[in-house]
Symmetry: C2
Subunit: 183 residues, 2 copies
DNA sequence: CCTCCATTACTATACGTTTAGTATTAAACA
DNA sequence: TGTTTAATACTAAACGTATAGTAATGGAGG
């Protein structure tokens, strides 16, 4: 997630320093769902550089202080695409932050690929919902649920339902966008 | 969360080994929202023991293999209560797992304390919602939102609303339960 | 002009989680 | 009865995150 965020920002807005990335994350909407600590950013930058996904472009010196500016590498773009696709296709119920991040940068992928990934996620979530429904009926019959367990269950079920609806709406929107473009 | 889970289980079901804790987490409803890896359990057990929150009760030997059985200590019960209260009172929108865990074990706390904690959380979430609504109106006016950012926003907003509703329902249920008891 | 505070840019360390195991014992089956 | 598989019980190491800083610089106020 931190990785995707950094690669996405470097890809969309060009070369940046760790501090600038930090600023962007704090100011944009993303800070609502992604609380990325400075230390995590610098850690990720170091790793990404080691792996050759980003390149140290320049080091700006201001007096005694230095600022490292990183640039995304080809390998980084490839990884970014992979991360986006992964996050779009895997279920986002428990931890939706990576889906949100992926949506932020999804323009990096061709629409059909996005749709495929989202369809995969839809199937996954639908399966989870079905399994939950089934499991609940069994436990309700057995009377094996405390009041709070039942409340929790109901809440999770509602959350899953909402997430499913969200994905479906995204798919519909994208399909109509695609048709609009093909005209 | 792992800590709360372990302390809660040891408190409710008596002394157990790490493996038994693992089994309980896998079988119960909790595995739906809390994916606790074995290694995390053993790590937490070691830490809790070092801190004196749990006590190594016995070591059962079966041939060459040993099984460590832990018992909750007084300090552990105190910490459990604190963890529950904290999780009930802090906002659970981004990561509801700790709220769910706290609800699972909330019987450890007196109802008025639970209600106080939940009321605190309710205020927090309501404040977040108000702030979001305000922030969105500003950005909508400026037209500064991409389609996907808007979708994400709407989804988060809905999630927050649902969570607020959930907390409120819990409060109402608990209040009526309290009245029932006082008769 | 100089002091103080906020901003800039980054780091060290501890902590918890995840991955990927190992080794032993019990059960299943042939 | 021997072999293979599943269950039991736990560990080592790598990894990422969070806490809590540091030190330099720029600007504002007296």
């Amino acid at each position: 997630m931190t990785r995707m965020m950094i690669l996405g920002l470097l890809n969309n807005f060009g070369s940046m320093s760790g501090y600038e990335i930090q600023q962007m994350l704090q100011s944009s909407q993303t800070e609502m769902w992604a609380y990325v600590q400075p230390a995590s950013i610098y850690h990720a930058l170091r790793k990404l550089q080691q792996e050759g996904k980003i390149i140290l472009e320049t080091v700006e010196h201001t007096g005694l202080r230095a600022k490292a500016i990183y640039k995304i590498a080809e390998d980084g773009v490839l990884e970014l695409r992979q991360l986006i696709e992964q996050s779009l296709s895997k279920s986002s119920v428990v931890f939706p932050a990576s889906l949100y991040t992926a949506l932020t940068f999804m323009d990096e992928l061709p629409v059909p690929l996005i749709l495929e990934a989202l369809a995969k996620q839809e199937r996954e979530i639908a399966a989870v919902m079905a399994a939950m429904k089934h499991g609940e009926e069994m436990k309700a019959q057995a009377g094996a649920m405390t009041v709070q367990a039942e409340a929790v269950f109901t809440n999770i079920y509602a959350q899953v339902g909402m997430q499913l609806e969200f994905i479906r709406k995204l798919i519909v929107d994208l399909e109509s966008r695609q048709e609009g473009e093909s005209l």
